[in-house]
């Protein structure tokens, strides 16, 4: 057996590409982004120093405020919707029902579709003059009206709705795997003890699946912070700026509006927000654990 030092050399060597990626593509880019946010850069970076000017402007910007609000609305509805729908689907599929395989496939297939496709399709279905509304009119229900996509105060809910369509199946798959992992004897014990199924789900199963829920939450959370394609394809941020999201704010200012400094300031704010939320969790999860701990 090689001495420990040598073994580590091999492992460290194997990690070199990852180190490079971490240093350059992650840490380096983040540092650069933050640096540029303190400059007056337009299309190109200038390395001057204007202090917090871009941040002042950012938080003064109505669009940014709307974007952040939208992200919050979208995030809450999307995550809660996916978790609730996904959980219900998983529980119902777990009732020894007929055609489970087909249904499971049906519920999960949207997850294989991109957000671009999702956005295009729902935009088409929910469009008041083309989709459901028009179909209802064609079937004779002429008073039917569903114009949320054209309404600035409602459109963001539809974006979240399309997101739920795409991702609820993922939650279902995760939770179903969790449900299948539950000891069959537990259900028998509950039946013998006369405990109703809903009570078992509420008091026993949901706590048991907390790990699964956290996983789902993490995956959905990542999707929320990154949401961009869906909005671009479905509403383009409209009507007006009512469905703008921070990621789109960054891209727009980065490339179309030629204000890299403001864009990077927005990106930095997003980074800090994510870091504050996720950092401590990751730290406790992965860094605090001592390397000697049993694997």
């Amino acid at each position: 057996m090689k001495p420990r030092r040598l073994r580590n050399v091999a492992a460290q060597t194997a990690l070199i590409p990852s180190w490079l990626i971490v240093i350059f593509a992650y840490i380096g880019t983040i540092a650069w982004t933050i640096r540029i946010s303190f400059t007056s850069s337009g299309i190109f970076p200038h390395y001057d120093w204007v202090g917090l000017k871009q941040y002042d402007r950012l938080f003064d910007s109505h669009r940014w405020v709307v974007s952040v609000q939208n992200l919050a609305i979208f995030g809450v509805i999307f995550i809660v919707g996916c978790l609730v729908l996904g959980f219900l689907l998983a529980v119902f599929l777990d009732q020894k029902i007929r055609g489970e395989g087909i249904l499971r496939t049906l519920f999960l297939y949207p997850y294989a579709m991109s957000f671009i496709v999702t956005g295009l399709v729902w935009q088409w279905i929910l469009n008041p003059t083309l989709g459901i509304e028009q179909a209802m009119h064609a079937w004779g229900w002429s008073s039917f009206s569903f114009d949320w996509l054209a309404r600035g105060d409602r459109a963001i809910y539809l974006v979240a709705f399309a997101g739920i369509w795409q991702s609820a199946g993922l939650v279902m798959a995760i939770l179903l795997a969790g449900l299948r992992g539950i000891d069959e004897d537990l259900w028998k014990a509950a039946r013998v003890d006369g405990i109703p199924a809903w009570r078992i789900y509420l008091s026993v199963v949901i706590p048991m699946l907390s790990g699964m829920f956290v996983t789902a939450l993490v995956l959905l959370g990542i999707a929320v912070v990154k949401v961009y394609d869906l909005v671009v394809a479905m509403t383009g941020g409209g009507p007006g700026i009512s469905t703008e999201v921070p990621a789109k704010f960054v891209i727009d200012y980065l490339f179309n509006r030629q204000n890299v400094a403001l864009a990077t300031a927005a990106a930095s704010v997003m980074f800090v927000a994510v870091f504050v939320v996720v950092g401590p969790w990751l730290y406790s999860q992965y860094l605090r654990r001592r390397p000697g701990e049993a694997s």
Binding site: K188, R191, V192, G194, I195, P196, S203
Partner: protein
């Protein structure tokens, strides 16, 4: 008989496959019945059917004089303990014990009383505030038993409750369960594949195979007078020694003959077998004595070579090779049996069993 649990004409099918067919079983009040058999013999299926956890294809289940065939498990007056304990992992021991009572809306004082009693009986009072994850296997199983206990039921069902425990704990808890039965005097139905558990705990044992009860008797009868070859083989460790052969008539006596190994049959057995019949002879290891020449007519004198010697503590297992066969003998621990030595040995034919070679039935 004061019947506690009765199973009549029971049939259970999975699809086209009948796992249990036309099974009859009566269990007396306060009896400790063990369902014993190898895995897949249908013993757990039978237990689950009694509990109402699986649908029956035909037949009836009666508990305490009621026909409960169509009733929910919770209404059958049963408590059940599982191999995997099936504790609710997020609840403390106390909550686990009281959950069913709380759901059934018992009043607070009653719940406390019942939990306290169960905890006292099972000696788990110090553990009440702990979560299952912080308990040992034995403690968990006590809690699982306690969960059945608080519900004040007529019949306890145990589904291999000790199989997940290590050897020492298993013995401890076995004694505990026996004591519990003595104290509560409930009917208990206990499924296991472990014959020691069966022999030590049971009032009666039902040995099962292929969904059929092979023999239903008290432990000693099962051990000493197995009804067929399967039961004989399954009970006892090491297993009974078997010899395939046939019956000869020699010097006016009926003799069992297997490839020249000739063993005279004892008087009580002899009339049951006519000469020329193909049979198997079964002799338990403790009924083989080494170093003796056979002094009475019920003993057959034979010779063999000692193969392996296994001291067990209280006694020693000796494996003897004779001809093509190897057989096990349980011998006193105070003697030595050097391998390679050729020794005489005798069968104590008073305790031997003879089975029909074809049907495997005891003769």
């Amino acid at each position: 008989m004061d019947t506690s649990v009765a199973v009549r004409d029971l049939k259970i099918s999975y699809g086209a496959l009948d796992v249990i067919k036309d099974l009859q079983l009566e269990i007396a009040r306060g009896e400790f019945l063990v369902l014993l058999g190898p895995s897949g013999c249908g013993k757990s299926t039978l237990l689950n059917a009694i509990a109402g956890l699986i649908d029956v294809a035909d037949g009836e289940v009666w508990i305490s004089g009621r026909n409960v065939t169509w009733e929910e498990p919770k209404d059958r007056g049963i408590g059940m303990v599982f191999q995997s304990y099936a504790l609710y992992p997020q609840m403390s021991v106390e909550k686990n014990l009281s959950f069913s009572l709380r759901v059934a809306r018992h009043d607070r004082a009653d719940i406390e009383r019942r939990v306290a009693r169960a905890a006292e009986i099972l000696q788990i009072e110090p553990l009440l505030k702990r979560k299952p994850a912080h308990l040992s296997g034995g403690q968990r199983q006590r809690v699982a038993i306690g969960r059945a206990l608080v519900r004040d039921v007529d019949v306890f069902l145990f589904d291999e409750p000790l199989s997940n425990l290590d050897a020492k704990l298993r013995v401890d808890l076995r004694v505990e369960i026996k004591r519990l039965h003595q104290r509560l005097e409930n009917t208990m139905i206990y499924v296991t594949h472990d014959q020691i558990e069966a022999l030590t705990l049971a009032d009666r044992i039902a040995v099962m195979k292929g969904g059929v009860i092979q023999q239903l008797d008290d432990p000693l009868t099962i051990y000493n007078r197995p009804k067929n070859r399967f039961v004989a083989e399954f009970i006892g460790s090491p297993s009974m020694n078997f010899f395939e052969g046939s019956i000869l008539e020699k010097d006016g006596r009926r003799v069992f003959d297997a490839d020249g190994m000739k063993v005279p049959l004892p008087c009580d057995l002899a009339p049951k077998v006519e000469p020329g019949r193909a049979v198997s002879l079964g002799v338990r290891p403790e009924h083989i004595r080494i170093g003796e020449m056979g002094t009475n007519s019920d003993e057959a004198a034979l010779r063999g070579t000692i193969d392996i010697e296994e001291p067990m503590g209280p006694d020693t297992l000796v494996w003897i090779r004779t001809g093509e066969r190897t057989l096990a003998a349980r011998c006193p621990a105070d003697a030595r049996y050097p391998p390679g030595q050729t020794v005489p040995f005798v069968f104590d034919m008073r305790f031997a069993s003879i089975f029909d070679a074809k049907s495997g039935e005891r003769l």
